[in-house]
């Protein structure tokens, strides 16, 4: 314990060297803006700026990239709340309540909640990271395909109540998302599948962002165009105002959500540690659980602050968590950490169990920089909130073309393929038409995120077990997760039974 604190103290001494401090602040700011662009997330930010880091020593370089990673996690919430477009899969859950809040004229509240929750998630996870690293790394290593599939089942189960009232339409939406996720290459048989019309663009599959920007960006904007037209050209994206008084009231209200924030932080951190999971399932599960434990679950999806706090605390906690297997095992927990890993190799640092002893300066400098990056990111983020609110007050006919341009370029940038831009427009128009008929579309977006993780894990597991489903129930880590998932899945079916039994009792009394 004392040893850890001494090491951390030395780490802070490194992180607060003027050059490193500037790199951290610069990284947070750059990351914030990259994350706030629809279509660009931490992966793009880190990948693109990687070559720049050769100008500074490795410790400074990793601090810069980690700060970008952190900043982008904060920034992702901004486009989710303001535009309703998740910039990255990690910010999908933030749209569910962030956007309704903005529409109710409380964008300032949602943005503040996101920033503060991110700070809580980041801080708690860094503390956990500091004191609980090596034992958890071993759990992460034991996670194989069966555990991954069980985890995905759990993520689905926590989301069961998310759809609309129309059950066939909700199930349709989930299934279409899962089917679209299967487009591309089937890694188990090595064969291409669902390559419509032999168009090569389908070979790389349908990127989650194409569907998300299509539905939430183009589709949502067309919907707003209709509302705008029906309101006689008077609608605005949000009529939030920001004053010191309101901010204080918002912060006060946030204090009441501390339980949700704590739950999100712990959950996000532990899910983030697991290889291949990363921040997305963590934030989705945090949202689902927040809804289930809430006293007012009906407010979720219509502008509940907890609905912003839970996923935002979880995704920041998970981004720290996913650094753990990267540093200790050399396994990336998310695509972004995979690139960070590449960077470390280039700088001549071999990640793995020996990194903590061989390069203590580097590791503890990084950990200290996470504390610092978290601190600066929340300050920078809050400082920019008035500017974001001002942007939302622009007339709709000025803001709309800007958002459309962001969508078009955001659809192109990740893969640099025009095919994806066309696909996005098709999804946007079809999504708009379906939305008018009360088809819930959020389940489709979630399904396309989780599908590519769930299907290979299921089939790898069955391949290992020669087709026996018992593999999910006989392994140490898989069994409890799978049982939890099944209980949660069947809870809605059991509820009427429980109520029936409970009802009888009261009747008898």
């Amino acid at each position: 314990m004392v040893e850890i604190i001494t090491l951390l103290w030395n780490g802070f001494a490194i992180a607060f060297e003027p050059v490193n401090l500037m790199l951290i602040i610069g990284g947070c700011t750059v990351g914030l803006f990259i994350g706030a662009m629809p279509g660009l997330g931490s992966v793009n930010g880190v990948a693109i700026l990687l070559p720049l880091t050769f100008l500074v020593p490795p410790t400074g370089a990793i601090m810069f990239l980690a700060a970008i990673y952190y900043g982008a996690m904060y920034g992702g919430a901004i486009s989710s709340i303001m535009l309703g477009i998740p910039g990255a899969s990690t910010a999908v859950a933030t749209t569910f309540d962030g956007r309704p809040l903005a529409k109710l004229g409380m964008a300032d509240k949602a943005l503040t909640a996101a920033a503060v929750a991110s700070f809580v998630g980041g801080s708690i996870s860094v503390l956990l990271f500091t004191f609980l690293a090596p034992p958890l790394a071993h759990v992460a290593l034991r996670f194989g395909a069966p555990e991954e599939f069980s985890l995905m089942m759990l993520a689905f189960a926590t989301f069961i109540g998310l759809g609309g009232d129309d059950i066939p339409k909700t199930i349709f939406s989930i299934c279409i998302g899962l089917v679209l996720a299967a487009v591309g290459l089937d890694i188990i048989s090595g064969e291409p599948r669902l390559v419509f019309g032999n168009i090569t663009g389908f070979l790389h599959g349908i990127n989650f962002l194409v569907l998300a920007i299509g539905i939430y960006g183009i589709g949502e904007m067309l919907w707003t165009v209709e509302e705008h037209y029906k309101a006689g050209g008077k609608s605005m994206m949000s009529d939030a105002v920001i004053t010191v008084q309101r901010t204080m009231a918002n912060l006060k209200e946030l204090l009441g959500t501390w339980k949700t924030a704590l739950m999100g932080s712990f959950l996000g951190y532990f899910v983030g540690i697991l290889p291949a999971a990363g921040a997305t399932p963590g934030s989705l599960m945090a949202y689902g659980i927040a809804k289930q434990i809430s006293h007012e679950p009906e407010k979720f999806g219509k502008g509940a602050v907890e609905g912003v706090v839970a996923p935002e605390s979880a995704n920041n906690a998970a981004s720290t968590g996913s650094m753990l297997p990267m540093l200790t095992l050399g396994i990336p927990g998310s695509p972004t950490t995979a690139i960070l890993l590449g960077g470390m190799v280039i700088w001549g640092l071999e990640p793995g169990p020996r990194l903590f002893t061989d390069h203590a300066d580097f590791v503890w400098g990084l950990i200290a920089s996470l504390y610092a990056a978290n601190f600066f990111a929340v300050i920078i983020n809050i400082a920019f909130i008035p500017a974001f609110i001002w942007v939302l007050k622009l007339p709709f006919t000025l803001l709309a073309p800007i958002i459309f341009v962001l969508c078009l370029i955001g659809g192109y940038a990740p893969t640099q393929d025009m095919h994806d831009v066309w696909l996005m427009i098709i999804f946007g128009i079809v999504g708009y038409l379906m939305r008018k008929l009360d088809y819930p579309l959020a389940p489709a977006v979630l399904a396309i995120v989780l599908g590519p993780l769930a299907e290979p894990a299921l089939r790898q597991s069955l391949l290992i077990s020669s087709g026996e489903f018992s593999i999910f129930f006989t392994r140490v880590y898989s069994a409890p997760i799978m049982i939890c998932a099944l209980i949660l899945l069947f809870l809605p079916l059991l509820k009427p039974v429980i109520r029936l039994v409970g009802g009888r009792k009261t009747a008898r009394r």
Binding site: I34, L40, N44, I48, D166, P168, K169, I171, F172, C175, I176, L178, V179, A182, D186, I188, S189, E191, R193, L194, M221, L222, V225, E226, H228, Y229, K230, P395, T397, L398, A400, P401, I402, F404, V405, L408, I409, Y412, A413, Q416, M418, V421, W422, I425, G428, I429, Y432, L433, M434, K436, L437, D438, Y439, E455, L458, R459, L462, L463, S466, G467
Partner: protein, 168 residues
Amino acid sequence: MRKAEFVMAAVMGIFSLYLMWKSAELPVGWIPEEGPGGGAWPFWLSAVMLICCVLILINWYRRKTPPSQSDEVYMDRGTTVAVGLVAGSLIVTVALFYVIGVYGALPLFMIFYVRYLGRHSWPATAAMAAIAPVATFFFFDIALKITLPKGLPIIEETIFYPLYKIFL
């Protein structure tokens, strides 16, 4: 609205059938000792989609859901024009990416939207049309080094080669 509900469910039902047929290019059954084949996942999920479409149609027939009860017009004339113009302009803009590139198409889109649809003043329009491509160029092409489509080669050679020389 009622008619639209029927058409959408029918079209999606047909689409589900197409997906099932397309998935069946790979084995959709259970391979002994290996588990499901390569096409099983999309095939059976598409089958569930088909069932959902049938259920939606049953609900439509029994007038159970709000859209199947509503006599409102699905897309009235004004909405069709307003949404159609926006969607159409997006499609034209993307098509223009191939010819005059992002940096030619963006100002045109801005002029159309801000001036024609938004009825803002010419100075406001000009400012938007100028700022959009310049900001995009410096953020994507220069700062992030993500090369956006430039259209025909001749445009890139005459306009952008000198710009690359200066900024890259």
